[in-house]
Symmetry: C2
Subunit: 315 residues, 2 copies
Amino acid sequence: MITIGIDLGGMSAKAACLAAGTLTEKARVVTSKEKTPEKTAKDLAALAREAAVRGGIAFDEIDAVGVGSPGVIDGGVVVQWSNFGWKDVKLAALLSEILKKPTFVLNDANAAALGEAKYGAGVKYDDCALVTIGTGVGSGIVLGGKLFTGYRGAGTELGHTVIRAGGLPCPCGRRGCFEQYASATALIRRTRERMEQDRASRLWELAKTTNDVDGTTAFRAASMGDAAARETLDGYLEDLAEGIADLVNLMRPQAVILGGGISAEGEALLDPLRKKVNEKLYIPAERVPFQIVAATLGNDAGIYGAAHYASECVK
Amino acid sequence: MITIGIDLGGMSAKAACLAAGTLTEKARVVTSKEKTPEKTAKDLAALAREAAVRGGIAFDEIDAVGVGSPGVIDGGVVVQWSNFGWKDVKLAALLSEILKKPTFVLNDANAAALGEAKYGAGVKYDDCALVTIGTGVGSGIVLGGKLFTGYRGAGTELGHTVIRAGGLPCPCGRRGCFEQYASATALIRRTRERMEQDRASRLWELAKTTNDVDGTTAFRAASMGDAAARETLDGYLEDLAEGIADLVNLMRPQAVILGGGISAEGEALLDPLRKKVNEKLYIPAERVPFQIVAATLGNDAGIYGAAHYASECVK
């Protein structure tokens, strides 16, 4: 079985062939919300063909194509992708008509979760969840080796479960969503707030102005022994642990895989996080094994997952 | 297929036969933590035999026995039942040795969920969750028609997901658990607190002292038009909606079934709750159908579910 995985994003789409568990060289195309869905489908079709060329694989040998797309996906249809203004775009049908190949679409966070579960940090686990810390908090869940999406793809929105009802407003309309406290955006906000309060903090050595703060600033200052940075991180990790513990108390996967730029912090992130999560588990890891690990596939997770999804769907 | 379902509780155990989708007359036995697990197993075996007699079914015709038990259950073993001080009790093995029948054990909240899903309010849905409002908040989840328990039975603890991190202390060790805000115990506490603040409330007509408050008091006073009761209920339902919306945003079942005494309040409960939950859904019910309904099997749900579980396990 040889499939093509496409990772569709707001700035670009990337694609590669998955053959014998290995990704071939990637191809890339620019995407834009100015393009119609039909034009985007044409671009993605050309991208898939280029991925086959780069992979040294005749397009005839491709069994199926998978696309990880932002938005709510239901049965090959992009029901809604707000950033691109897409509503009920029949992306699978558009692509398969051009490519004459079975084509399947899944949500991009789900694709990344499936990729990590099958080819990355989750290969040892039948049940695992990917929690991606970025601008928001994304999540995807694999149960019994299969992608779990909830009814008609409407589930796995961990970022939009509350940890502080009535708290910070979220664009989704709720107040107190996990995403508002645990995203990289939230860590940056918390770091900036702390800097404003503490002019003597070494955070100011790493960021000349609060605009220079990024998701690594607090980690770097904490490793220098800065108390303000340590407290900021501790508060952030406490909230990150709340949402992860909620996921685990409810769904109890064998492992949670942490993705996003923050996962590069390694044990400086994972070690305290494991302790905090375990304290919050109804049944701690000593009783029923549970792991927190860092994602290993980086930006390729979605391509792996989309290609794997196509192979599962077509077989 | 004819199976026996046993609902094991801290005060009593009840059992009945499930034949052609119908429960026969129930049998009952007193339970006590003073009895050893072996003695309890003997009592449950006698109870199963009595259930067959009451059902007019020869015990030889019974295909399997299912037990819904409190505590954490893993592979027929009661890993921990705190109230009874049970640890690693091989309940399925103890019972099957006496009865010479295949015997299966599942958690009691899961048994109730499976019962409602298969024979009660959830028969129309492949994916549904039972949320039981009582002393605590119990939950059980059925996905694709099968019981979902999380890895080694350690999941579906909705009551121990936080809605107010750092909030009210919970016996589980966390602060701010959903259970502390949405259980019947929490409604009673909230009603009492409001009474103390508002001596003119008609709540005082229904409860002479705060000790007389129960889970119905606020509903009854609200129906009389009492503003204090209405506000109390509104705050309670808001928090109940937070936890239910978290469950739905994460797992997106087709329906949530509300169980426990509170479900007898009918539309006075369900109508405002549906509105509040829908406002908090990442994908509202207008986009992807979602229902909140009242449980219909009452105290029999666990017997139905345990008997059904046995039939699923043995076939």
